[in-house]
Amino acid sequence: MPAAELTLDVEVCSECGLCVAVCGYDALVLRPTILEIIHSECVLCDACVVACPTEALRIE
């Protein structure tokens, strides 16, 4: 089984930046038209998945 990873559904994300505010590992950056995930920094703590108001982020 491949290692789990944080994934983004770009169709669902509306670039609100809430996930960036809750990430304590600087693993998310809201670029002008897309949320960038820096996988090497992400510790899969789930905080952004819980905070996101919609179902744009998943750990799978």
Binding site: L18, V20, V22, V50, T54, E55
Partner: protein, 397 residues
């Protein structure tokens, strides 16, 4: 270093636009940087602001207003209703026109505006201060020097983090929100704000309908993930729409989501020569989630303080400390009170909401109120429920 400015303002939301306007009018060489090509897009905001929240910070221009609010309506879970007239309550803005309007005024006053330009880092200087910012314009990276950096980069702020402030927001300390912009909203009173309280419909928050003229309205919901047990704002908004509109669903023009951080006091407002304003410093009202007025006042006061530093106290960074002090003196007491009240709000049951709205309706229904002191309203609401008064006494601010 490609260019030098006195002040670089990062983010053209309400905080950044008013900071840039204030600085430029005082004669400072000012650069306002916005990562999006268009100011005010994308946006997730219900756009409500009180008369004073706007006019105390910048003289009102009617072209910024979509609707004049004269009436408020609150509904409890069992259907108790409270409605009162409040002729000077405030406005529903067009934030796109508002922020573009302020940016235009700033440019007229001599500010340089760089849209479509992202700030990607701060330039480390002597250790005591940052010497400028690194910008990315499409594919080109360049550096700009400055004396003062005003961070107005919203909830997603990186500037404060680069300046060494850990603004990480615990999930317990935020609301998660969703909103539709609708055309053809049934039963819409064009001068009335509607608020719906129900722990099933909007756990830890509330739902709203804010009119924007011509049958258009912002319809949204905020929920606290800490009490929502995994339910998300967007699907809950769809449930609220079925509740509010039944089968007569209006036409959605836009669908957005957003976050509302709890107030964090003064602790994120200043680091070296970086002044942090608005949502970047988490300066929102923790009961209503309103942040525009605080963004305006913090942007304005940060810029006024920066001007003092540049004109008189250059070299002495202690001058900048009066920014958090002045802002807290203006807004701190009320914001800390709301933060405390939120801890009670999160514990309210539907029976509490029913009793409070029913009791308040007896006093206020059909009345015309000229001035409302929000702290007084919270106190009155609490007094209607002795169990809540006991809880309130046990909670420390």
């Amino acid at each position: 270093m490609d260019r030098r400015f006195d002040i670089v303002v990062i983010g053209a939301g309400p905080a950044g636009c008013l900071a840039a306007l204030t600085a430029a009018r005082a004669g400072c060489r000012t650069l306002l940087v916005e990562k999006h090509k268009t100011i005010g897009e994308p946006l997730c905001c219900a756009e409500g602001i009180s008369f004073c929240g706007l006019n105390d910070n910048i003289p009102l221009d009617h072209s910024w207003i979509d609707a004049d609010v004269e009436r408020c309506y609150l509904r409890s879970p069992a259907g108790h209703e409270l409605q009162f007239d409040h002729p000077d309550a405030g406005f529903v803005l067009s934030r796109r026109r508002f922020e573009q309007g302020m940016a235009d005024l700033a440019v007229q006053a001599g500010c340089e505006l760089a849209t479509g330009t992202e700030t990607v880092g701060l330039l480390n200087g002597s250790g005591e201060r940052f010497h400028g910012v690194r910008l990315l314009d499409g594919q080109t990276t360049y550096d700009v020097g400055c004396q003062i950096i005003i961070a107005a980069d919203g909830i997603e702020s990186m500037v404060a983090r680069w300046a060494g402030i850990d603004t990480t927001l615990p999930v317990e300390h935020l609301d998660s929100a969703a909103q539709f912009l609708f055309d053809g909203v049934p039963d819409l009173d064009p001068t009335r704000m509607e608020f719906y309280f129900d722990t099933q419909l909007a756990p830890g928050g509330y739902a709203w309908v804010f009119p924007k003229g011509n049958g258009i309205a912002n319809v949204g919901i905020a929920v606290a993930p800490v009490v929502a047990q995994g339910r998300k704002a967007m699907p809950m908004l769809r449930e609220f729409m079925r509740f509010r509109f039944g089968q007569r669903s209006p036409k959605p023009l836009k669908r957005t989501v957003g976050g509302i951080p709890e107030f964090c006091g003064r602790k994120f407002m200043l680091s070296r020569n970086v002044m942090v304003t608005g949502d970047a410093a988490r300066l929102l009202d923790s009961i209503t989630g309103a942040g525009i007025a605080n963004a305006l006042s913090s942007g304005r006061i940060a810029a006024e303080t920066a001007v003092l530093y540049l004109q008189g106290g250059r070299g002495d960074l202690r001058v900048l400390k009066s920014y958090p002090e002045r802002w807290m003196a203006l807004r701190g007491r009320e914001m800390l009170y709301f933060l405390w009240a939120r801890q009670i709000f999160l514990r309210l049951t539907n029976a509490d909401f029913d009793a409070m709205v029913a009791a308040m309706a007896q006093v206020y229904n059909g009345q015309t109120l000229t001035a409302i002191d929000p702290i007084d309203v919270i106190k009155r609401a609490l007094r209607t429920r002795p169990s809540l008064l006991r809880l309130a006494r046990h909670l420390v601010w």
